[in-house]
Symmetry: D3
Subunit: 327 residues, 6 copies
Amino acid sequence: MDEKLMSYQVGDKIEIFVLLKAAEVRTAKNNKRYIAFTFEDSSGEMGGMYWDASEQDIETFKAGKVVHLIGKREEYQSKPQIKISQLRTPNVGEPSDPGQFVTRAPMKKSEMVDEINQVMFEITNPTWNRLTRFLINKHQADFFDFPAAKTNHHAFEGGLAFHTISILRLAHSVCNQYPNVNAPLLYAAAILHDLGKTVELSDPITTQYTVAGNLIGHISLIDGELVEACQTLKLDPSSEDVILLRHMILAHHGLLEYGSPVRPQVLEAEILHDLDELDASIMAIQTSLDHTEPGEFSERLFGMDNRRFFEFEGTKNHEQDTKKPEN
Amino acid sequence: MDEKLMSYQVGDKIEIFVLLKAAEVRTAKNNKRYIAFTFEDSSGEMGGMYWDASEQDIETFKAGKVVHLIGKREEYQSKPQIKISQLRTPNVGEPSDPGQFVTRAPMKKSEMVDEINQVMFEITNPTWNRLTRFLINKHQADFFDFPAAKTNHHAFEGGLAFHTISILRLAHSVCNQYPNVNAPLLYAAAILHDLGKTVELSDPITTQYTVAGNLIGHISLIDGELVEACQTLKLDPSSEDVILLRHMILAHHGLLEYGSPVRPQVLEAEILHDLDELDASIMAIQTSLDHTEPGEFSERLFGMDNRRFFEFEGTKNHEQDTKKPEN
Amino acid sequence: MDEKLMSYQVGDKIEIFVLLKAAEVRTAKNNKRYIAFTFEDSSGEMGGMYWDASEQDIETFKAGKVVHLIGKREEYQSKPQIKISQLRTPNVGEPSDPGQFVTRAPMKKSEMVDEINQVMFEITNPTWNRLTRFLINKHQADFFDFPAAKTNHHAFEGGLAFHTISILRLAHSVCNQYPNVNAPLLYAAAILHDLGKTVELSDPITTQYTVAGNLIGHISLIDGELVEACQTLKLDPSSEDVILLRHMILAHHGLLEYGSPVRPQVLEAEILHDLDELDASIMAIQTSLDHTEPGEFSERLFGMDNRRFFEFEGTKNHEQDTKKPEN
Amino acid sequence: MDEKLMSYQVGDKIEIFVLLKAAEVRTAKNNKRYIAFTFEDSSGEMGGMYWDASEQDIETFKAGKVVHLIGKREEYQSKPQIKISQLRTPNVGEPSDPGQFVTRAPMKKSEMVDEINQVMFEITNPTWNRLTRFLINKHQADFFDFPAAKTNHHAFEGGLAFHTISILRLAHSVCNQYPNVNAPLLYAAAILHDLGKTVELSDPITTQYTVAGNLIGHISLIDGELVEACQTLKLDPSSEDVILLRHMILAHHGLLEYGSPVRPQVLEAEILHDLDELDASIMAIQTSLDHTEPGEFSERLFGMDNRRFFEFEGTKNHEQDTKKPEN
Amino acid sequence: MDEKLMSYQVGDKIEIFVLLKAAEVRTAKNNKRYIAFTFEDSSGEMGGMYWDASEQDIETFKAGKVVHLIGKREEYQSKPQIKISQLRTPNVGEPSDPGQFVTRAPMKKSEMVDEINQVMFEITNPTWNRLTRFLINKHQADFFDFPAAKTNHHAFEGGLAFHTISILRLAHSVCNQYPNVNAPLLYAAAILHDLGKTVELSDPITTQYTVAGNLIGHISLIDGELVEACQTLKLDPSSEDVILLRHMILAHHGLLEYGSPVRPQVLEAEILHDLDELDASIMAIQTSLDHTEPGEFSERLFGMDNRRFFEFEGTKNHEQDTKKPEN
Amino acid sequence: MDEKLMSYQVGDKIEIFVLLKAAEVRTAKNNKRYIAFTFEDSSGEMGGMYWDASEQDIETFKAGKVVHLIGKREEYQSKPQIKISQLRTPNVGEPSDPGQFVTRAPMKKSEMVDEINQVMFEITNPTWNRLTRFLINKHQADFFDFPAAKTNHHAFEGGLAFHTISILRLAHSVCNQYPNVNAPLLYAAAILHDLGKTVELSDPITTQYTVAGNLIGHISLIDGELVEACQTLKLDPSSEDVILLRHMILAHHGLLEYGSPVRPQVLEAEILHDLDELDASIMAIQTSLDHTEPGEFSERLFGMDNRRFFEFEGTKNHEQDTKKPEN
């Protein structure tokens, strides 16, 4: 059966494997405990209460687990909700990999690892090369699995690395076109710029902001790790090389209002900021247009100043046939 | 003799060929007329008064002409000024081409014409192709000579076409990387987006804003011409194709505050705006860094929110040797 | 029976003639089609679903039609909704004119036509006179029927012409008081300033933004038509007369943030903007106060920066008796 | 001799009657006292130092006095300055009225008094009538002489009353056009709205901000006097009538950012604000265009967001002949 | 029984004494009247409809009364609501004091009176002393009972005086640390700065904005009373002493955008504004953290730019043991 | 002779000891080198050119040295300038300590050291105590000598420590008044919050921004050192203690627009920001009022939103006699 969570209508009976994206244990007025679940599959997410939860239930049904759910689609306070009839863990042979229930980047993890490694060779400055390798190695396990954001753009498994690679490709074109741009600096900073998100966010499955993420933010988190790495690698933190790399990372949000403590003041920092925005915009608009009918406007995109985008087609289809035949 | 205008210090004797960038005829208190000149060469510009101007002087020394100037560098009200001793038109064999006294784009005009023509073939949608060809033909004489702005970025002869070509190259990379982008729409709009500047600005030598430039602006000027062109070419102005192309042009400043009457609402319009900013930023920063010593910060750039940019060198030189060996 | 749509409470039986403001055909999960209606009369609007719609139903019950509705007032997801029992088209002798179900301007159409025609004689500049007559003739059918906006101020049938006439009357007073104001320019621009709304909006009954309205906007739409009209009428688009009239229209929103690509730079453009705002504000506040009890504050007005306005009475009534006895 | 102050060029000998707009006594390094004068006539103002001033000089040459000045036009630190040769008070028969050396409103004082008195009869609400008469009587001496501002709009003698009358005329038109507007409230508030400027500014000749003007501002100054007047006239300050009139005055700057402690929340307050801006804008632009050549742009107007305004002529002259023949 | 209003869950039976915070009489479609109640106790507030209300019910159950309520907790349109079974006034011996059902300041009223009186002795300037005493006496009944705001910070009975006292204590520390600060001016203004809230708000129990509060605001209300008081006390309103005190009050919101008609321009006014914000911030955050679990973030605080605040504990508890043992 | 630099007038002969605040070596058009000096003493600073500088001159007259200057006060391009006649280093017995030529904090260095040490004992949390001691020790040499800013507030030698101590005193009062505030966290962060300025600025004598200061900023500089210190001291950088302390420092500018990458989200961070602003404001206003005559307004203060502050006296003097006699 291949039904998806969001395709059920009010009153439909549900029978489906889903991921437990969140599982908050609460105490009801009768002093019994219950679990407030958020169920998720690749179509979206929906909530449901599990009353009178036993100790074993609480132990079994934790966030991040896959479960088999039988229930009914209802509506509570204007939001979809599931009345749970039965919940059980998967049997052998049934789906149990959380990764199958979340959206993934449109590129294999191994390919992303290869492409990042390839770029490392172009970072010919030894200070930047060592720092970048050290920090990517340190966070390797998370860097290729985390999303690039909780919501907004690239909010899918592997989104962080995929967004990084997109920027690197754009950066490559820019370096070819404008020969004065310092490519190693731009590449090193592009790789590191969002790496702090592996600390800012909890995990790729049940993605939440951590306390450190809220109180420090991914920009200062990776900046701190970079200074720490200098100490470990015995690099001088007051050298021009280190100052430039820190500046690139600190300034990549472009404006103070967006959380950068300094604005771009070297050419490469301005470029990194612009390419970051360009890729994030294209990805956010494209994702939204994928769910928009031709001739219609998309939903409002919060991350794009609440604009709606138009999906045109007559023209588009016509063009696709003849566009870039041999490119 | 190869002295430049801006290299003279207070008190130096000047003897040089210069361009008359401006020549305003005024009447002194004694009822005699004089001319307030702005002299220019590739190093910059400086003013000077020409007292007791005869009818013939006024006729001879007009803005846009090259002259031989003898005078003295002085200071008046805290600004450099030239006390004119003698002014004459060039003799045969002496410099007389105004174009030699202004900065030019770093690409030959013929190469720019070729590259634009080449892109035309990639605009496979017939409506967009015909409109783009028609308008480029109409303004061909100016498009390859005008600057892209009076000051700020690409403020040199040929800057308009050069800026357009830079955007087209970036657009090509983006279309390769993101296959859903409609390349013909993006290319057509990139070519047309700033074409209204040929009406907004007076000419490439004595560049001033025209009345139409001030009261209508280059965005609405080219938008109006596009509607007019539809009438001439018997294209339906209410077709989706025309609406999309007008939208691309109208929205290319990105924000209402920057003079776009609508914000980008199709993917390609967002991209055009981002690439326009990216190229303008790189050019503005690069130009400023060309006059900045290594280890120093540039002057404040008005068009970049008054930021100063840092010219680093140790790192840069080191990198340049090894960067992109075969790309 | 003279019951109005909005006067029914939850649970009441409904039996009423209403206008179909919107009729969207959708497909249910069981693959049958249904219509999502928006019903409207002069009291407001309410939605309702029509399940299992036949081909003939879809053909019969289109947006813009008047129907007789039997149903029940319910509540769904915190919003009023109608459970439809029966729907039929009006019989002979029953109400069938959509115009009777929408609010109309407080002035007869024929009077509005006369007043606009009268003002035409005061536009003594031949360029402005010809352009204004040409464009009003072109859109005559819509200009006197369209609202001035989808919501906010003058959102009623005929609102566009009524708003235009109110501005012309204010403009007349201003020209009398300040003799240097160029009356023909101000009158011509006042007539044309919002004419683009006949293209920006779909129609006076089921008023929605068109694709051209969203992507181009009413300011650039009428600006484009003005350039086109010059070509038809063989008027020089680069003459001062045409530049001034285009400027008046382009600048009438006053600020770039409000969608004008240029700010007012001639005296008459500043006045047109101010009078546009003055009339829109008075109309918006007055409409809201009509539904506010004396001694109370109105609802928040979105178009007036979310302010609430106070309806005072003691004073007001007292004054009305004695105010302006013979004016 | 009818030479004006600003028409002298550097090096010219000056011999002229002028007003002492400011006369600051200072002590030089040699412990002798000198006076820093600001001279003024209807063409503008210029400074000059009067060295080694005696006790009698200081007593004689005070701000607000007319003097006969002999000197030379010089330049000091990029600003025009006068080297004073001789200074004396006017003899009998020579100009001595300060009022002749400042610009005046284009309407006679007696006519302004009459027009204000006439409007008083239309304020039929007794509370508003009594408060308005009381406060106008209290400040009668200043109300008809003060400017409406130190710089910006209506910065001439009588400007305050003239600006008030212009608003009243516009208000009259508005009340005729929109019958629900409470005319007595609008008229009373229009008369009082800027009356606090008679306390905020020092005097019509040597106009400076007073300490109370800086620390309290004209809005709160007249609001305070209005409450005081209620006490004197035994009117209840908590009555709706008084609250409404106070609100009108407090809100007339429209936005908090412009110094109104509350935003307009009654219809008449919104109208007063709009008419205040309309008249101020027209006056500021008109004044600036009076000094602008046809086909040129004015200087930037600080009070109009630094915009420049275009003085067109071809069209204007043509129109003036035929405009409003009998109105 | 000590159950609180907000502790009931959907479906629970309610039996409880509550305060009638609001009691709006409305007419149902069947022309019978009903009362829309807002019930309140120290835990929060909840609504409920009382159908078919008799004349006597309307007379008996007015806002501000304590009642005994029997009913059931339900949900209507996503909000908690009470289905009323029975309502009666308290019998002798049952709770009837509205004050017991609202939150109160954490300091006794008599102590607050004493502390304010004590500070009066430190206001050694006779003008400031007399004005402060006069106005506190005038509003004595309300000053010690009113909240400092309708919502946001210090929104409890006695909050106005408590907030004032907190500022005075901080002001005392500041005067000790910076000896140039004029303590009497700072203390007098601190006492008066929010006193206008006794007119801006209706009462401490059923707190609403009054018409004068909306149209004039607490800043101008107390400023007007201060001018009035000068007249009563025969103090010169144009003396520096009065101007300074008015300035302190008018400027205490710090920014024009926050409703101050002038910005602080004396040192003491800047300090008053800063201390006002400091105390309001601490109180708002502290109150919110009191309802936040350790390791969690609070709800978003509207008055603190929608920020959430983190309640940390490990560290905090550890510190509390050893902190400030004898201070 | 006790003349100060700024007391000379144009034309005066100068003979004085001064500090070389800046000494830039440049090359003139004649290829000879000259030095552009900035001279300073406690009264202010002034420039002067030293032509035809020998190798030895360049070696001798470096920034930071004290010299004896003979010259003449002139004016160049509207700015005061010194024509240098003779320059020599001080002889034995003549002033040579740069510290004597700059303004100093109004508290002895030894007293400041003592007070900071005393506060250390109140930081009872061991993590915060160790980090604070470690970083203060590391920068001890600079912390008690550096100014708190290049211009604006506390721009004098020792200003950084003095500003820190002022905040600590205010913090002490706040902790006493609000018992829930975590004093050790507040004290530790107060001590560290501006410590990064010892890296951001060059030195206390010839204070300039360093490259690291411009590209990284003092907030991220000290944040990086704090992470580094954790590594050295073997403290866990992901512990709540460290996260809280980093947050306090990162958030202390309060708003993203002011360069904090995160806004305050714990109570103590909000307080630190408020006290930082309060002390900086008082110091900036006080310093400016020290140069303002009673009854006058100060110069505009850039750091206080360009406001001018009023120096009142009548009242102030009267009060000072009787204020706080025994406190």
